[in-house]
Protein backbone atom coordinates (compact mmCIF):
# COMPACT_ATOMS: atom_id res chain seq x y z
CA UNK A 1 0.00 0.00 0.00
CA UNK A 2 2.79 2.39 0.95
CA UNK A 3 4.51 1.71 -2.35
CA UNK A 4 1.30 2.42 -4.18
CA UNK A 5 0.84 5.63 -2.24
CA UNK A 6 4.30 7.01 -2.87
CA UNK A 7 4.01 6.33 -6.58
CA UNK A 8 0.65 8.01 -6.81
CA UNK A 9 1.52 11.65 -7.70
CA UNK A 10 3.16 10.72 -11.01
CA UNK A 11 0.29 8.94 -12.74
CA UNK A 12 -2.35 8.75 -10.08
CA UNK A 13 -5.64 7.23 -11.24
CA UNK A 14 -7.28 9.21 -8.46
CA UNK A 15 -6.70 12.41 -10.46
CA UNK A 16 -8.77 11.01 -13.29
CA UNK A 17 -11.36 9.55 -10.95
CA UNK A 18 -11.81 12.56 -8.70
CA UNK A 19 -12.33 14.56 -11.85
CA UNK A 20 -15.76 12.86 -11.85
CA UNK A 21 -16.63 14.93 -8.77
CA UNK A 22 -15.95 18.21 -10.58
CA UNK A 23 -18.56 19.64 -12.91
CA UNK A 24 -17.34 19.55 -16.49
CA UNK A 25 -18.57 20.81 -19.81
CA UNK A 26 -19.81 18.47 -22.50
CA UNK A 27 -18.11 18.90 -25.86
CA UNK A 28 -21.47 19.00 -27.62
CA UNK A 29 -23.13 21.45 -25.24
CA UNK A 30 -23.41 25.18 -25.90
CA UNK A 31 -21.51 27.68 -23.74
CA UNK A 32 -23.82 30.12 -21.99
CA UNK A 33 -22.57 33.02 -19.92
CA UNK A 34 -24.74 35.75 -18.42
CA UNK A 35 -23.26 38.57 -16.36
CA UNK A 36 -20.00 36.70 -15.96
CA UNK A 37 -21.78 33.62 -14.63
CA UNK A 38 -21.24 30.39 -16.56
CA UNK A 39 -24.67 28.89 -17.11
CA UNK A 40 -23.54 26.20 -19.55
CA UNK A 41 -25.26 22.82 -19.19
CA UNK A 42 -22.42 21.00 -17.44
CA UNK A 43 -22.87 17.45 -16.16
CA UNK A 44 -23.80 18.95 -12.77
CA UNK A 45 -26.52 21.09 -14.34
CA UNK A 46 -27.82 18.16 -16.37
CA UNK A 47 -28.01 16.02 -13.25
CA UNK A 48 -29.79 18.76 -11.30
CA UNK A 49 -32.42 18.87 -14.03
CA UNK A 50 -32.46 15.09 -14.24
CA UNK A 51 -33.17 14.96 -10.50
CA UNK A 52 -35.87 17.62 -10.93
CA UNK A 53 -37.39 15.77 -13.85
CA UNK A 54 -37.37 12.41 -12.05
CA UNK A 55 -38.86 14.02 -8.96
CA UNK A 56 -41.72 15.64 -10.86
CA UNK A 57 -42.29 12.71 -13.25
CA UNK A 58 -42.49 10.05 -10.55
CA UNK A 59 -44.89 12.12 -8.46
CA UNK A 60 -46.92 13.09 -11.50
CA UNK A 61 -47.37 9.45 -12.49
CA UNK A 62 -48.16 8.43 -8.90
CA UNK A 63 -50.67 11.26 -8.49
CA UNK A 64 -52.53 10.23 -11.65
CA UNK A 65 -53.11 6.72 -10.34
CA UNK A 66 -56.15 6.47 -8.15
CA UNK A 67 -56.20 2.78 -7.25
CA UNK A 68 -57.96 2.05 -3.99
CA UNK A 69 -55.23 -0.42 -3.12
CA UNK A 70 -52.02 1.31 -4.24
CA UNK A 71 -49.45 -0.74 -6.05
CA UNK A 72 -46.05 -0.15 -7.62
CA UNK A 73 -44.96 3.45 -7.99
CA UNK A 74 -48.16 4.78 -6.40
CA UNK A 75 -47.50 2.68 -3.33
CA UNK A 76 -43.85 3.77 -3.04
CA UNK A 77 -44.71 7.45 -3.45
CA UNK A 78 -47.58 7.29 -0.96
CA UNK A 79 -45.37 5.55 1.60
CA UNK A 80 -42.68 8.23 1.14
CA UNK A 81 -45.20 11.07 1.32
CA UNK A 82 -46.68 9.55 4.46
CA UNK A 83 -43.20 9.15 5.90
CA UNK A 84 -42.35 12.82 5.29
CA UNK A 85 -45.70 13.96 6.66
CA UNK A 86 -45.76 11.87 9.81
CA UNK A 87 -42.10 11.55 10.71
CA UNK A 88 -40.78 14.92 9.60
CA UNK A 89 -43.48 17.57 9.25
CA UNK A 90 -46.05 16.59 11.88
CA UNK A 91 -43.38 15.50 14.36
CA UNK A 92 -42.30 19.15 14.61
CA UNK A 93 -45.23 21.32 13.50
CA UNK A 94 -48.81 21.51 14.60
CA UNK A 95 -51.50 20.24 12.24
CA UNK A 96 -52.33 23.62 10.70
CA UNK A 97 -48.71 24.61 10.04
CA UNK A 98 -47.94 21.10 8.88
CA UNK A 99 -50.73 21.20 6.32
CA UNK A 100 -49.52 24.58 5.01
CA UNK A 101 -45.85 23.72 4.89
CA UNK A 102 -45.88 20.11 3.79
CA UNK A 103 -45.66 20.97 0.06
CA UNK A 104 -42.51 23.03 0.63
CA UNK A 105 -40.83 20.59 3.02
CA UNK A 106 -41.88 17.62 0.90
CA UNK A 107 -40.34 19.28 -2.17
CA UNK A 108 -37.12 19.98 -0.26
CA UNK A 109 -36.94 16.35 0.85
CA UNK A 110 -37.67 14.76 -2.51
CA UNK A 111 -35.57 17.19 -4.56
CA UNK A 112 -32.55 16.65 -2.32
CA UNK A 113 -33.11 12.90 -2.23
CA UNK A 114 -33.17 12.72 -6.02
CA UNK A 115 -30.10 14.98 -6.29
CA UNK A 116 -28.33 12.68 -3.81
CA UNK A 117 -29.39 9.50 -5.56
CA UNK A 118 -28.98 10.55 -9.19
CA UNK A 119 -25.21 10.31 -8.79
CA UNK A 120 -25.56 6.57 -8.34
CA UNK A 121 -26.85 6.13 -11.90
CA UNK A 122 -23.96 4.54 -13.80
CA UNK A 123 -22.25 6.48 -16.58
CA UNK A 124 -24.40 9.63 -16.55
CA UNK A 125 -24.55 10.01 -12.80
CA UNK A 126 -23.11 13.07 -11.08
CA UNK A 127 -24.12 13.96 -7.56
CA UNK A 128 -25.08 17.65 -7.55
CA UNK A 129 -25.19 17.70 -3.75
CA UNK A 130 -21.50 16.71 -3.65
CA UNK A 131 -20.92 20.34 -4.69
CA UNK A 132 -20.94 22.96 -1.94
CA UNK A 133 -22.55 25.59 -4.18
CA UNK A 134 -25.60 23.42 -4.71
CA UNK A 135 -26.04 22.60 -1.03
CA UNK A 136 -25.30 26.19 -0.02
CA UNK A 137 -27.99 27.43 -2.42
CA UNK A 138 -30.52 25.03 -0.93
CA UNK A 139 -29.48 25.87 2.64
CA UNK A 140 -29.61 29.62 2.03
CA UNK A 141 -32.98 29.42 0.31
CA UNK A 142 -34.40 27.49 3.24
CA UNK A 143 -32.86 29.71 5.88
CA UNK A 144 -33.73 32.99 4.17
CA UNK A 145 -37.29 31.77 3.64
CA UNK A 146 -37.53 30.88 7.33
CA UNK A 147 -36.25 34.31 8.32
CA UNK A 148 -38.58 36.01 5.84
CA UNK A 149 -41.70 34.26 7.08
CA UNK A 150 -40.62 34.81 10.68
CA UNK A 151 -40.30 38.53 10.09
CA UNK A 152 -43.50 38.68 8.06
CA UNK A 153 -45.53 36.84 10.70
CA UNK A 154 -44.11 38.50 13.81
CA UNK A 155 -42.63 41.78 12.57
CA UNK A 156 -38.83 42.13 12.09
CA UNK A 157 -38.04 43.52 15.54
CA UNK A 158 -40.17 41.10 17.52
CA UNK A 159 -38.87 38.21 15.46
CA UNK A 160 -35.20 39.02 15.99
CA UNK A 161 -35.68 39.82 19.66
CA UNK A 162 -37.50 36.56 20.25
CA UNK A 163 -34.97 34.67 18.17
CA UNK A 164 -31.80 36.15 19.64
CA UNK A 165 -32.92 36.59 23.25
CA UNK A 166 -33.68 33.25 24.83
CA UNK A 167 -36.65 33.33 27.22
CA UNK A 168 -36.10 33.25 30.99
CA UNK A 169 -32.40 34.17 30.72
CA UNK A 170 -31.16 36.63 33.36
CA UNK A 171 -30.36 40.05 31.89
CA UNK A 172 -26.79 39.82 33.06
CA UNK A 173 -26.29 36.84 30.77
CA UNK A 174 -27.60 38.59 27.66
CA UNK A 175 -24.23 40.03 26.47
CA UNK A 176 -23.02 36.46 26.37
CA UNK A 177 -26.17 34.82 25.09
CA UNK A 178 -26.95 37.17 22.21
CA UNK A 179 -23.60 36.63 20.41
CA UNK A 180 -24.04 32.87 20.94
CA UNK A 181 -27.50 33.06 19.41
CA UNK A 182 -26.19 35.12 16.48
CA UNK A 183 -23.47 32.51 15.86
CA UNK A 184 -26.12 29.80 16.18
CA UNK A 185 -28.26 31.53 13.55
CA UNK A 186 -25.30 31.95 11.19
CA UNK A 187 -24.30 28.33 11.76
CA UNK A 188 -27.69 27.10 10.63
CA UNK A 189 -27.32 27.57 6.87
CA UNK A 190 -23.62 26.80 7.09
CA UNK A 191 -24.13 23.48 8.88
CA UNK A 192 -27.06 22.63 6.65
CA UNK A 193 -24.93 23.16 3.53
CA UNK A 194 -21.70 21.59 4.77
CA UNK A 195 -23.33 18.51 6.30
CA UNK A 196 -25.05 17.52 3.09
CA UNK A 197 -22.09 18.41 0.87
CA UNK A 198 -19.51 16.62 3.06
CA UNK A 199 -21.56 13.48 3.41
CA UNK A 200 -22.31 13.15 -0.26
CA UNK A 201 -18.73 13.99 -1.26
CA UNK A 202 -17.26 11.50 1.21
CA UNK A 203 -19.69 8.87 0.02
CA UNK A 204 -18.61 9.21 -3.58
CA UNK A 205 -14.94 9.61 -2.70
CA UNK A 206 -15.13 6.23 -0.99
CA UNK A 207 -16.49 4.67 -4.15
CA UNK A 208 -13.79 6.34 -6.22
CA UNK A 209 -11.07 5.21 -3.84
CA UNK A 210 -12.14 1.59 -4.26
CA UNK A 211 -12.27 2.08 -8.02
CA UNK A 212 -8.84 3.72 -7.81
CA UNK A 213 -7.37 0.62 -6.18
CA UNK A 214 -8.28 -1.39 -9.25
CA UNK A 215 -6.51 1.07 -11.57
CA UNK A 216 -3.49 1.19 -9.26
CA UNK A 217 -3.19 -2.57 -9.21
CA UNK A 218 -3.82 -2.98 -12.92
CA UNK A 219 -0.96 -4.76 -14.66
CA UNK A 220 0.38 -6.34 -11.49
CA UNK A 221 -0.36 -9.66 -9.82
CA UNK A 222 -2.09 -7.79 -6.98
CA UNK A 223 -5.05 -7.18 -9.26
CA UNK A 224 -6.32 -10.73 -8.60
CA UNK A 225 -6.65 -9.93 -4.91
CA UNK A 226 -7.65 -6.29 -5.15
CA UNK A 227 -10.22 -6.57 -7.94
CA UNK A 228 -12.76 -8.78 -6.12
CA UNK A 229 -12.29 -6.97 -2.84
CA UNK A 230 -12.68 -3.54 -4.45
CA UNK A 231 -15.72 -4.60 -6.44
CA UNK A 232 -17.30 -6.13 -3.33
CA UNK A 233 -16.69 -2.94 -1.34
CA UNK A 234 -18.02 -0.80 -4.19
CA UNK A 235 -21.23 -2.82 -4.26
CA UNK A 236 -21.59 -2.53 -0.50
CA UNK A 237 -20.81 1.20 -0.54
CA UNK A 238 -23.20 1.83 -3.41
CA UNK A 239 -26.02 0.34 -1.32
CA UNK A 240 -24.76 2.34 1.64
CA UNK A 241 -24.66 5.47 -0.54
CA UNK A 242 -28.36 5.04 -1.32
CA UNK A 243 -29.05 4.81 2.39
CA UNK A 244 -26.91 7.90 3.04
CA UNK A 245 -28.75 9.72 0.23
CA UNK A 246 -32.03 9.02 2.01
CA UNK A 247 -30.77 9.83 5.50
CA UNK A 248 -29.20 13.13 4.40
CA UNK A 249 -32.42 14.14 2.70
CA UNK A 250 -34.30 13.30 5.90
CA UNK A 251 -31.87 15.37 8.00
CA UNK A 252 -32.04 18.33 5.64
CA UNK A 253 -35.84 18.24 5.52
CA UNK A 254 -36.09 17.76 9.28
CA UNK A 255 -33.85 20.76 9.99
CA UNK A 256 -35.79 22.78 7.41
CA UNK A 257 -38.98 21.93 9.31
CA UNK A 258 -37.40 22.99 12.60
CA UNK A 259 -36.11 26.28 11.19
CA UNK A 260 -39.48 27.13 9.65
CA UNK A 261 -41.30 26.16 12.82
CA UNK A 262 -38.90 28.31 14.85
CA UNK A 263 -39.60 31.18 12.49
CA UNK A 264 -43.36 30.69 12.80
CA UNK A 265 -43.20 30.51 16.58
CA UNK A 266 -40.01 32.30 17.65
CA UNK A 267 -38.94 32.02 21.26
CA UNK A 268 -40.75 28.75 21.86
Amino acid sequence: MAVLATEAPEESPFTELTGHLTPHHYGWAPHWEIGGIDLSPTNAVVNIWLAALLCVAIFWIAARKRALVPQGIQNVVEVLVDFVKVNIVYSVMNTKDGRNWFPFIGTVFFFIFFMNAVGLVPYIGFTPTANIFVTATMALMVYLLAVAIGMARNGPLKFWVKTLVPPDVPKVMLPLMIPIEIISQLARPLSLAVRLFANMLADHLMLLVFAGFIFLAAGSAAIFGILPISVAFMVIFTAFALFVAFIQAVIFAFLTTIYINDALHPGH
Binding site: A5, A8, E16, I37, W49, F59, F110, F133, M141, G212
Partner: protein, 185 residues
Protein backbone atom coordinates in the same frame (compact mmCIF):
# COMPACT_ATOMS: atom_id res chain seq x y z
CA UNK B 1 -8.34 4.13 4.04
CA UNK B 2 -8.52 7.80 4.95
CA UNK B 3 -4.88 8.25 3.89
CA UNK B 4 -5.84 7.04 0.44
CA UNK B 5 -8.70 9.52 0.32
CA UNK B 6 -6.34 12.31 1.32
CA UNK B 7 -3.78 11.11 -1.15
CA UNK B 8 -6.34 11.06 -3.91
CA UNK B 9 -7.54 14.54 -3.05
CA UNK B 10 -4.05 15.95 -2.73
CA UNK B 11 -2.89 14.30 -5.91
CA UNK B 12 -5.83 15.69 -7.81
CA UNK B 13 -5.42 19.13 -6.30
CA UNK B 14 -1.69 19.09 -7.02
CA UNK B 15 -2.46 18.60 -10.67
CA UNK B 16 -5.22 21.17 -10.61
CA UNK B 17 -7.86 18.44 -10.94
CA UNK B 18 -10.24 18.34 -8.03
CA UNK B 19 -11.16 21.24 -5.82
CA UNK B 20 -14.62 21.01 -4.27
CA UNK B 21 -14.58 24.77 -3.58
CA UNK B 22 -14.01 25.87 -7.16
CA UNK B 23 -16.53 28.65 -7.72
CA UNK B 24 -19.54 27.35 -9.61
CA UNK B 25 -22.00 30.23 -9.50
CA UNK B 26 -23.84 28.77 -12.46
CA UNK B 27 -24.87 25.90 -10.19
CA UNK B 28 -26.30 28.37 -7.71
CA UNK B 29 -28.56 29.78 -10.40
CA UNK B 30 -29.53 26.39 -11.82
CA UNK B 31 -30.16 24.90 -8.36
CA UNK B 32 -32.41 27.80 -7.48
CA UNK B 33 -34.29 27.68 -10.77
CA UNK B 34 -34.65 23.90 -10.68
CA UNK B 35 -35.81 23.90 -7.07
CA UNK B 36 -38.36 26.64 -7.64
CA UNK B 37 -39.64 24.84 -10.74
CA UNK B 38 -39.97 21.57 -8.85
CA UNK B 39 -41.59 23.41 -5.95
CA UNK B 40 -44.12 25.03 -8.26
CA UNK B 41 -44.97 21.79 -10.06
CA UNK B 42 -45.13 19.63 -6.95
CA UNK B 43 -46.84 22.14 -4.68
CA UNK B 44 -49.35 23.38 -7.23
CA UNK B 45 -49.98 20.44 -9.51
CA UNK B 46 -48.89 17.20 -7.88
CA UNK B 47 -49.27 17.33 -4.09
CA UNK B 48 -52.86 18.63 -4.19
CA UNK B 49 -53.77 15.79 -6.58
CA UNK B 50 -51.98 13.30 -4.38
CA UNK B 51 -53.66 14.68 -1.26
CA UNK B 52 -57.00 14.65 -3.03
CA UNK B 53 -56.41 11.03 -4.03
CA UNK B 54 -55.53 10.10 -0.47
CA UNK B 55 -58.54 11.98 0.88
CA UNK B 56 -60.77 10.29 -1.73
CA UNK B 57 -59.48 6.91 -0.70
CA UNK B 58 -59.92 7.75 2.97
CA UNK B 59 -63.50 8.81 2.23
CA UNK B 60 -64.14 5.72 0.10
CA UNK B 61 -62.77 3.42 2.78
CA UNK B 62 -64.81 5.22 5.45
CA UNK B 63 -67.94 4.90 3.28
CA UNK B 64 -67.27 1.25 2.66
CA UNK B 65 -66.69 0.61 6.34
CA UNK B 66 -69.98 2.38 7.07
CA UNK B 67 -71.78 0.35 4.38
CA UNK B 68 -70.21 -2.86 5.69
CA UNK B 69 -71.31 -1.99 9.21
CA UNK B 70 -74.83 -1.30 7.95
CA UNK B 71 -74.88 -4.57 6.04
CA UNK B 72 -73.59 -6.40 9.08
CA UNK B 73 -76.27 -4.82 11.27
CA UNK B 74 -78.90 -5.85 8.72
CA UNK B 75 -77.48 -9.35 8.54
CA UNK B 76 -77.49 -9.56 12.32
CA UNK B 77 -81.10 -8.40 12.37
CA UNK B 78 -82.06 -10.98 9.75
CA UNK B 79 -80.18 -13.65 11.65
CA UNK B 80 -81.93 -12.71 14.89
CA UNK B 81 -85.27 -12.79 13.08
CA UNK B 82 -84.45 -16.12 11.53
CA UNK B 83 -83.36 -17.49 14.90
CA UNK B 84 -86.55 -16.29 16.57
CA UNK B 85 -88.59 -17.86 13.76
CA UNK B 86 -86.72 -21.12 14.09
CA UNK B 87 -87.24 -21.03 17.85
CA UNK B 88 -90.97 -20.34 17.38
CA UNK B 89 -91.23 -23.14 14.82
CA UNK B 90 -89.38 -25.46 17.15
CA UNK B 91 -91.70 -24.50 20.00
CA UNK B 92 -94.74 -25.01 17.77
CA UNK B 93 -93.42 -28.36 16.62
CA UNK B 94 -92.74 -29.42 20.18
CA UNK B 95 -96.30 -28.40 21.11
CA UNK B 96 -97.70 -30.34 18.20
CA UNK B 97 -95.66 -33.39 19.10
CA UNK B 98 -96.81 -33.12 22.71
CA UNK B 99 -100.40 -32.76 21.58
CA UNK B 100 -100.07 -35.75 19.24
CA UNK B 101 -98.42 -37.71 22.00
CA UNK B 102 -101.22 -36.83 24.43
CA UNK B 103 -103.86 -37.69 21.85
CA UNK B 104 -102.14 -40.99 21.10
CA UNK B 105 -101.91 -41.72 24.81
CA UNK B 106 -105.58 -40.94 25.23
CA UNK B 107 -106.47 -43.22 22.33
CA UNK B 108 -104.24 -45.91 23.80
CA UNK B 109 -105.86 -45.59 27.19
CA UNK B 110 -109.31 -45.72 25.62
CA UNK B 111 -108.38 -48.74 23.59
CA UNK B 112 -106.89 -50.44 26.62
CA UNK B 113 -109.98 -49.63 28.67
CA UNK B 114 -112.25 -50.88 25.91
CA UNK B 115 -110.18 -54.02 25.47
CA UNK B 116 -110.16 -54.60 29.19
CA UNK B 117 -113.98 -54.15 29.28
CA UNK B 118 -114.40 -56.54 26.38
CA UNK B 119 -112.06 -59.01 27.99
CA UNK B 120 -113.94 -58.74 31.23
CA UNK B 121 -117.23 -59.36 29.43
CA UNK B 122 -115.77 -62.35 27.64
CA UNK B 123 -114.39 -63.72 30.87
CA UNK B 124 -117.69 -63.16 32.68
CA UNK B 125 -119.55 -64.79 29.87
CA UNK B 126 -117.15 -67.72 29.90
CA UNK B 127 -117.36 -67.93 33.61
CA UNK B 128 -121.17 -67.97 33.46
CA UNK B 129 -121.09 -70.62 30.75
CA UNK B 130 -118.65 -72.65 32.79
CA UNK B 131 -120.80 -72.27 35.87
CA UNK B 132 -123.91 -73.40 33.93
CA UNK B 133 -122.02 -76.32 32.49
CA UNK B 134 -120.80 -77.23 35.93
CA UNK B 135 -124.29 -77.08 37.35
CA UNK B 136 -125.52 -79.25 34.54
CA UNK B 137 -122.68 -81.71 34.97
CA UNK B 138 -123.14 -81.77 38.70
CA UNK B 139 -126.86 -82.46 38.45
CA UNK B 140 -126.19 -85.14 35.86
CA UNK B 141 -123.54 -86.53 38.12
CA UNK B 142 -125.93 -86.41 41.05
CA UNK B 143 -128.35 -88.75 39.33
CA UNK B 144 -125.65 -91.04 38.02
CA UNK B 145 -123.77 -91.06 41.26
CA UNK B 146 -126.86 -91.97 43.28
CA UNK B 147 -127.52 -94.77 40.97
CA UNK B 148 -123.93 -95.95 40.93
CA UNK B 149 -123.53 -95.73 44.62
CA UNK B 150 -126.79 -97.56 45.21
CA UNK B 151 -125.65 -100.30 43.00
CA UNK B 152 -122.26 -100.36 44.69
CA UNK B 153 -123.76 -100.25 48.13
CA UNK B 154 -126.27 -102.95 47.23
CA UNK B 155 -123.48 -105.08 46.13
CA UNK B 156 -121.56 -104.36 49.32
CA UNK B 157 -124.34 -104.73 51.91
CA UNK B 158 -126.73 -106.75 49.84
CA UNK B 159 -129.87 -106.93 51.84
CA UNK B 160 -129.08 -104.62 54.76
CA UNK B 161 -130.23 -101.53 52.91
CA UNK B 162 -133.57 -100.88 51.37
CA UNK B 163 -133.63 -98.69 48.29
CA UNK B 164 -135.19 -95.83 50.25
CA UNK B 165 -132.70 -95.89 53.06
CA UNK B 166 -129.97 -96.12 50.50
CA UNK B 167 -131.30 -93.06 48.65
CA UNK B 168 -131.32 -91.06 51.85
CA UNK B 169 -127.75 -92.00 52.51
CA UNK B 170 -126.63 -90.96 49.01
CA UNK B 171 -128.50 -87.65 49.09
CA UNK B 172 -126.92 -86.88 52.42
CA UNK B 173 -123.55 -87.60 50.92
CA UNK B 174 -124.22 -85.33 47.92
CA UNK B 175 -125.40 -82.55 50.17
CA UNK B 176 -122.08 -82.81 52.02
CA UNK B 177 -120.20 -82.71 48.74
CA UNK B 178 -122.08 -79.56 47.64
CA UNK B 179 -121.39 -77.91 50.91
CA UNK B 180 -117.71 -78.55 50.65
CA UNK B 181 -117.71 -77.30 46.96
CA UNK B 182 -119.52 -74.12 47.97
CA UNK B 183 -116.98 -73.55 50.69
CA UNK B 184 -114.15 -73.98 48.16
CA UNK B 185 -115.52 -71.51 45.60
Amino acid sequence: MSSFVLLATEAAEGEGGFNPFDPEFGLVVWTGVAFLTVLYLLAKKVFPKLQEGLADRERKIADEIKAAEKTRAEAEKILADYKSRVAAAREETTGMIEEARAAAEKVRQELIARAEGDARLIVDKARKQLSGERERILSELEGSLAEWSTNIAAQIVQKELTPDSHRDLVEGFIADVRKSEAAKS
